[in-house]
Symmetry: C2
Subunit: 344 residues, 2 copies
DNA sequence: ATTCAAAACTAACACGTGTTAGTAAGGGAT
DNA sequence: ATCCCTTACTAACACGTGTTAGTTTTGAAT
């Protein structure tokens, strides 16, 4: 274990050159001219010894870690919702292709904000991606204002933020057109998170203004609050459908919540989609396999993660960003959970 | 960004002591005696400047990184199955509590095995957790044989491995008793992965011997091969139920596959559980919300991850392991997807 | 033979930390 | 006065790397 630690010194000795030469050869430095045969002798020696530069030594002198931090707010969401893993995959893959490493850290709700300092101040990472940032996160905002390379998957609505989000106005408008076109006019919603989440807020606003275009309103008592898990969606939907039995369609905050809504409807003896139409959000892998297959709005978490990573690389290489706030356009996917409104 | 880099030298100057003293105070070294007031003066200076030791410097001299590597085989499974995120959460949380960091790396199937070397040889990590290791992974086995601190979430069936897995014989036996007790005797299975996965192999073997206890056999043509996604389960189940329409119960390799089986049954006009009983595996969060709620076998991914992390810490601290191969006992959860076998 | 320029390489520093060997001061005992 | 032991601290090394300023060698031109 501690046995095979080969240093550039060993390579130098085997190749019969100085340690400096080894470093120059291996880092392909063009500013200094080296003979072809010396280059080859060094490469050969390095290969023979299986030399891998010690990252700590390298980090110390270069100041670069080739590592990014990935902070996940409320990591327990990982347990119930399948969206974040998609983002994670996109981020990890992009980093792998760039030869970068990913340091994952969970930021428990209400936990210490030292997570940022520990990573940033101790120079463990070159940049940071924050998934699901909370709008009120002071430590994060301070980092953004210091111009540390941060990219958000989500938004804190700060003028200087660099972020990847989804536009919702357009696609939710389309979804509303679709549902209203089926004859529904008493429409409710279940959120997937507290209202102070930027995306939940945006989805509700888009829903409201979409309905307004048809002369309809989103009544406050037609909105129930979910909290990430299927169970929370179930409870909120049961309360909502009891309070407002006249509703014929429900927009779920996301697909995970939609599972709960589906169950609540069944339990109240309302069949989907005959008695109640449901629209999800995200188009997670299971959405098309629900009974009935879910009409939903497809966001592409993998691309979102990949894009966030690429934007971070651009910042790290001091390449200018054409757009500091990229907004992806989701797509309405109509399946069987939405159908003509029941008559009467 | 490069502005606020405070070194121990700065702290020393402000406190009016040498850099060595700063290091001794901050690392609570007991071997050297320091006056109470010097200690306080240094602590105060460090706090005032917001000093955070540079991790690279520390790593270089101590040889320790306070970081573990987390390698996920076939990371694309993250996209379709919700089990790995549970494990990930458990691992990350345990590390956070120990003040450790987690470096996540995906190991694409058939990809270069350099992933291990890059992390291990470059001394970026102190230890490694591998999730879903492939039995034939030479690079991994070589690491285990070198006695590098590795803990597996899964198994490669190597005598020297340290791993956390689940026993299946017992609980699958119970599940078989349950299903056979309901009058089923033509029983099939859909795997969740290729057969050379250790856990898939184990589950099939346990199923076979469970059936044998009741004088039943698991026919080879009663087994279909899934491949992680709901879709693969759907396709395999459709083929299986077409080939063997006499089957009245199916053991799905896991809950994700069970979703596909459920859909295949519906599409073939067989209602669940009246015409076909289904047993899942894992008890993922959505399992109880399927239609019908899924009878399944509860494994606890979070605990599995947590345990793996704790075993790795034990190795890193050279504490002896009471048990190198921990096997957790899953639990049968009976819901509505299993019911009395149809008559005739 | 001498000069000069390019080519090929290396000595030496810097990065920031943890730790060991060693120095200086204080004070009590002989 | 000398010795010695404890207390309080620091000088100096080591970790392994990237890079710059500088040195030696080569080879051709004068």
């Amino acid at each position: 274990m501690a046995s095979n630690r080969v240093t550039s010194h060993d390579v130098a000795r085997l190749a019969g050159v100085s340690r400096a030469t080894v470093s120059l050869v291996l880092n392909r430095s063009e500013s200094v001219t080296l003979s072809k045969e010396t280059r080859e002798r060094v490469m050969q020696a390095a290969a023979e010894l299986g030399y891998k530069p010690n990252s700590a030594g390298r980090m110390l002198v270069s100041g670069l870690t080739e590592t990014i931090g990935l902070i996940v707010s409320d990591p327990s969401i990982l347990l119930v919702d399948q969206y974040i893993p998609q983002v994670l995959y996109g981020i990890e893959k992009a980093n792998r292709q760039m030869g970068f490493h990913v340091l994952v850290e969970g930021l428990e709700a209400g936990g210490r904000t030292r997570a940022y300092d520990n990573l940033v101040e101790s120079r463990r990472i070159d940049g940071l991606i924050v998934v699901n940032p909370r709008a009120g996160d002071r430590a994060l905002i301070s980092l953004i204002e210091k111009d540390f390379p941060v990219v958000l998957v989500g938004s804190v609505r700060h003028p200087a933020e660099v972020s990847v989000t989804f536009t919702t106005r357009n696609v939710i408008g389309q979804a509303v057109d679709h549902v209203v076109g089926l004859g529904h006019h008493r429409i409710g919603a279940i959120t997937f998170s507290p209202r102070d989440f930027v995306s939940t807020n945006a989805r509700l606003t888009a829903l409201s203004s979409g309905l307004a275009r048809h002369g309809l309103a989103l009544d406050e008592d037609a909105v129930g609050d979910g909290n990430f898990s299927p169970e929370s969606g179930y409870r909120a939907a049961k309360a909502l459908l009891t309070r407002r039995p006249d509703l014929t369609a429900i927009f779920a905050g996301n697909d995970t919540i939609a599972i709960g809504v589906l169950n609540a409807a069944h339990e109240l003896g309302r069949s989907v989609p005959a008695d109640l139409s449901i629209v999800g959000f995200d188009d997670l892998p299971f959405a098309r396999w629900l009974t009935p297959p879910l009409t939903t709005i497809r966001t592409d978490g993998v691309s979102q993660g990949k894009l966030a990573a690429e934007m971070l690389f651009a910042r790290l290489h001091r390449r200018p960003l054409e757009n500091k706030r990229v907004r992806m356009e989701p797509e309405l996917v109509v399946r069987d959970s939405t159908q003509t409104a029941p008559t009467g």
